[in-house]
């Protein structure tokens, strides 16, 4: 019998009532008294020297309050990067200033040069057109390899466009080189992990507000982590102490990573609100989103896999160029390094691994974390090169993977790339995949496709990811400039209802439904008695927000801790009320009872006693029932799984159709199966989108070619099949109280290689044996062109 509430129940998402009826409250829905509107004047060239900015005509236009340029931010800091990487030699990465408005140079199409604040949005737009720019266009660098081989300097003050040249782990390199030199077989693959534009449904928006009366600031913003914005913007950019700065991230319509980062527009509206003495609102247009939201991925990689004659993996060596864009976005530097290099072992026992990453500045918008962040890039290379090796060695691709799995009895498993997997069972998820994907029926389906003149292919891959980000002491050693714990306050009201203030932030994940399931289960009360509050630094203890599939594993663990403190105190109160010893009190189904007796007192009476302490042990116990806890994980969590995709290729046009997709995941324990499946579905659509459709493209002058939905192909419902998903293989995480691992990114991480593997398989079986790789997206033109040879 499926449960109808608590842990394991598919409770319907309570937040959907407001989302689906248009009652959400997003940043753009907020209108403050006396609010002004702001429009940015953005660079139309990718690289140029600013000679002069004439704002006089714009300033004279109707409704204009002020036109800002970099001069108005003299003495203010730039937007900081949150993670310092050290290169092979131990030198810190190059870290150019990212000013709020361009200083001296523009560095990408969309770079903010000036901003108009006016009474109405239309007036601000009119005036923005009247700002006269005198800019000398400079040659742009777009290609990463050209950028490090003497192309134009993106930042004149830097010695090169190479942000860092990172080796991981430098001590492994000798053994890796040796193993590759002497191996029976080495498979080499050069590939591109295509650049993506996040396209959250809600574009970014921000409203700055300043109160002269109290000298404090409020920023409403589309953020996945309001406390991080408060810290970065307050401490590094504007110099506002945290007690004078409130950051609110209300309903947020999707982030996928792109709303983690601290953007210049947030600092702009906050500062401008004080200067003009009125609230300043900015809402990004969709075209502006394409140009200015941090993009994702954009890696160019060469990977080599060495194998012995039986197909055992001996060593992996990679060299990757990672695009940083024109400035370092908040977590840009960590994505191709610690979120990517640490995952290069995959699900396999490869004794020697060395990862080299060259991070490069180019005249493009900054690139940063995007659903999966580094882990999809690692998975794609590894699972593509394994497939290629299998073909070269004539070993079945599933068998080759199984042969190299970390076996169930080998956990905890220390990889050669720093991380140690606590638990897993990769054979079990592969077995499950073979079953749900009906792999034994593939040949029959292939014959059916052939009758229609279509080439059918099967692609399989595994993935592992490091989630539950992250142990603070570990990431601190690796260069993170923040801790990555999470916080929770559980406030019990006098009549027994509970409000949980969490530092996690929900922007589609369903926390308002899932977190109450945990608390309700622990206490034994209805879920409806528990409410979640998030997204406001004035109400919530210092938290680090939501990304890296961390909310339940880290944020949920903080909630469990705080709830345990509540239960411990409530038991003391119950013991007093029943004149029993605390050690004899049991809590079950919302009732405290004395072991071995029929005495009991219910949850509500205990809560009431806490706030109306007439009969209460006041000498030993404070009144009230409210507890705060912080949780800092001792390790990452390691969700893993096996995915299978079947495609049909139309040989006349090169068009690929994804016919089926199956995902067998191990997320550890599952709180709400329906929400987990929803997360997997969304992730799969995103991964299939990357594999099949999406590509951010700049021309050689740095103009964005894919600047609208006319050219940037998002996956639509008819681009993806009905999925078969399974999460019944569960090896609970060993180091967090819920035994959970995180499920938010798996689909996006695990699906691209399955799609490409399937396309290559279709072509190979169809007689196109010269096609061993096609870069994503595997669009019709690319597939057809590859088939022509």
């Amino acid at each position: 019998m499926p449960k109808d509430q608590g842990i394991g129940a598919s409770t319907k998402r309570r937040e959907d009532v407001r989302f689906l009826t248009g009652k959400g409250r997003y940043t753009d829905d907020i209108n403050l008294r006396g609010q002004t509107h702001c429009v940015f004047v953005r660079s139309q060239v990718a690289h140029g020297r600013i000679n002069a900015i004439d704002t006089s005509a714009a300033e004279a236009m109707p409704g204009v309050i002020k036109v800002f340029t970099a001069a108005d931010f003299a003495g203010k800091g730039g937007v900081p990067c949150g993670w310092q990487i050290h290169d092979k030699q131990g030198n810190p990465m190059l870290e150019p200033k990212h000013p709020i408005l361009a200083e001296g140079k523009v560095r990408y199409v969309g770079d903010a040069i000036a901003a108009v604040v006016a009474e109405t949005l239309e007036q601000a737009k009119d005036a923005a057109e009247a700002v006269v720019l005198d800019i000398d266009e400079l040659p742009a660098v777009v290609d990463m390899k050209a950028a490090v081989q003497g192309g134009a300097l993106v930042h004149d003050e830097l010695s090169s466009n190479l942000c860092y040249d990172w080796g991981f782990i430098e001590d492994n390199k000798g053994a890796v080189d040796e193993a590759i030199k002497s191996a029976h077989h080495v498979t080499t693959l050069e590939l591109v992990n295509n650049r993506l534009i996040p396209n959250a449904m809600e574009p970014r928006a921000a409203i700055g507000d300043y109160s002269m009366a109290s000298d404090d600031y409020t920023l409403y913003t589309t953020s996945q982590n309001p406390h991080v914005i408060r810290l970065l913007m307050g401490a590094f950019v504007l110099g506002i102490p945290e007690h004078k700065l409130r950051v609110v991230a209300p309903d947020v319509g999707g982030g996928f990573g792109s709303k983690i980062f601290h953007y210049v527009e947030e600092a702009f509206v906050t500062h401008a609100a004080k200067v003009v003495g009125r609230p300043v609102k900015w809402t990004c247009s969709r075209s502006e989103s394409f140009m200015t939201d941090a993009h994702g991925r954009d890696h160019v990689t060469k990977i080599e896999l060495a194998l012995d004659k039986d197909g055992h993996f001996l060593a992996i060596r990679t060299e990757t160029y990672a695009n940083m864009g024109a400035y370092l976005s908040t977590f840009a530097s960590s994505v191709p390094t610690y979120l990517h290099g640490t995952l290069m072992a995959g699900n396999y026992k490869t004794p020697h691994i060395y990862v080299n990453v060259k991070a490069v500045f180019t005249n493009t918008v900054p690139v940063d974390a995007y659903r999966g962040a580094g882990r999809p890039e690692a998975t794609f290379q590894l699972e593509r090169v394994i497939d290629k090796a299998a073909r070269e060695l004539g070993i079945d691709p599933i068998e080759l993977r199984r042969r190299n799995f970390v076996q169930p009895n080998e956990f905890p498993y220390q990889t050669p790339v720093a991380v140690a997997y606590d638990t897993g069972n990769y054979q079990a998820t592969m077995d499950k995949l073979v079953e749900i994907a009906d792999l034994s029926g593939f040949e029959a389906r292939r014959a059916e496709s052939a009758k229609k003149g279509l080439l059918r292919g099967l692609g399989v891959n595994c993935y592992i990811e490091a989630c539950g980000i992250a142990p603070s002491n570990l990431v601190g050693q690796l260069g993170a400039r923040a801790g990555l714990y999470e916080s929770a306050t559980v406030r019990v009201n006098a009549t027994g209802g509970i409000v949980v203030m969490t530092g996690s932030h929900s922007h589609g994940q369903g926390h308002e439904t899932t977190f109450p399931q945990v608390v309700a289960e622990m206490i034994g009360i209805p879920e409806g008695q528990v409410e979640i509050v998030h997204g406001d630094t004035a109400n919530v203890p210092m938290g680090m927000g939501t990304y890296g599939s961390r909310s339940l594993a880290v944020g949920g663990s903080a909630i469990v801790r705080a709830t345990n403190k509540i239960i411990a105190k409530a038991k003391k109160i119950a013991a007093h009320l029943m004149e029993a010893s605390e050690g004899d009190i049991e809590l079950k189904d919302g009732k405290f009872s004395v072991a071995g007796t029929d005495k009991s007192v219910d949850w509500g009476s205990v809560c009431l006693a806490a706030y109306v302490p007439h009969n209460y042990p006041l000498a030993e116990l404070e009144p009230g029932l409210e507890e705060t806890a912080f949780y800092d994980p001792s390790n990452f969590t390691y969700p893993a799984g096996a995915y299978a995709c079947e495609v049909e290729v139309d040989p006349g046009t090169g068009k690929v159709t994804v016919c089926s997709f199956a995902a067998a995941d191990d997320f550890g324990n599952v709180i709400n199966p329906m929400i987990v499946e929803g997360q997997v579905h969304g992730g799969l659509a995103q991964g299939i989108g990357q594999a099949m459709l999406e590509a951010a493209a700049y021309d050689e002058n740095g103009q964005l070619l894919s600047g609208s939905y006319m050219d940037y192909a998002m996956p639509r419902a008819d681009d993806v099949p009905f999925y078969k998903v399974d999460h019944s293989c569960q090896t609970p995480c060993t180091h967090n109280p819920l035994g959970v691992k995180g499920c938010g990114e798996a689909g996006a991480i695990g699906s691209p290689p399955a799609v490409v593997n399937a396309v290559i398989d279709a072509l190979q079986r169809g007689g196109y044996s010269h096609v061993t790789h096609i870069d994503m997206p595997v669009s019709p033109v690319r597939v057809w062109s590859a088939m022509q040879g």
Binding site: T653, Y709, M710, D711, P780
Partner: protein, 262 residues
């Protein structure tokens, strides 16, 4: 958007008069014009909506048995009302954009705009249709003059499009993955006078007729009849979604598929 005036006349004559004003523009369904105004790429002084002109809406049969489609008829209306008499045309209209676009966008707007990847130009040229404006009739062969250019004079309104009904016809569209306009679309129509083949989406000079295929298909209306033909890649569009060689291939493949479907 910049400020503009809005008029909704009830007759063609009133519309023509209203369009006499400097920088006034006709408004069909607004599916192309309004987005470009929102992006401040178009700044008409006035919009003259054509959708209130009763004689410009709907599908009927002309004296010569042609299918007459009013210039302000939506794609959805063509999909529904032409299905019985000209299923190939109805199917084309029913596959333009999405339901919102089809219930607003009009045939006149699509033809006047002459987007090189639009679907209707293939049907009009492939059918050998006639474009009737407020002051003349223009044969399809004389109407399309390259990317976003037509034989229309400033202020001239497409009042009606007359399609002779072919014996067999079909439209085969290969969608551009992002916009779902035609990466290449081929309309094939077989009449007593021979076969017409019109190709949209592929060429740098807009919709065109593939003469060689027309000759081969007039002799033998089968996909095999053009197996040995090819169009040169020269002059085909090159963009993110297709190389010239790829588009040249699609011209042939889509023609064959249209013939098989007709």
């Amino acid at each position: 958007m910049y400020e503009f005036d809005f008029e909704k006349p009830a007759t063609v004559a009133e519309a023509v008069a209203a369009l006499g004003r400097e920088d006034a523009m006709a408004l069909g369904g607004g599916q192309t014009l309004i987005p470009s105004m929102k992006q401040r790429l178009a700044a008409p002084s006035a919009l003259v909506s054509l959708t209130g002109i009763a004689e410009m809406r709907g599908v009927c049969t002309g004296d010569d048995a042609a299918l007459c489609v009013g210039g302000a008829t939506t794609h959805a209306a063509v999909a529904a009302e032409a299905a019985g008499r000209y299923p190939a045309l109805a199917a084309l209209a029913g596959n333009i954009g999405d339901p919102a676009v089809r219930n607003r966008g009009t045939i006149g707007g699509s033809l006047a705009n002459n987007d090189p990847a639009a679907d209707y130009p293939a049907a009009v040229l492939g059918s050998g249709a006639t474009i009737v404006t407020n002051n003349r009739s223009i044969a399809a062969d004389d109407f399309f003059e390259g990317l976003f250019t037509t034989a229309l004079e400033p202020g001239e309104i497409i009042v009606e499009v007359r399609f002779p009904i072919p014996e067999r016809a079909a439209y085969a569209k290969f969608q551009q993955p992002a916009s779902r306009f035609a990466l290449t679309g081929v309309f094939v129509a077989k009449t007593a006078n021979g076969v017409r083949v019109a190709v949209t989406g592929a060429s740098e000079s807009g919709v065109f007729r593939w003469g060689e295929a027309e000759a081969a298909l007039s002799a033998d209306f089968s996909a095999d009849a053009i197996a040995g033909l090819s169009v040169p890649a020269d002059g085909m569009v090159s963009d993110l979604h297709g190389t010239p060689a790829y588009r040249a291939n699609l011209v042939k493949v889509m023609t064959q598929r249209a013939v098989s479907a007709a």
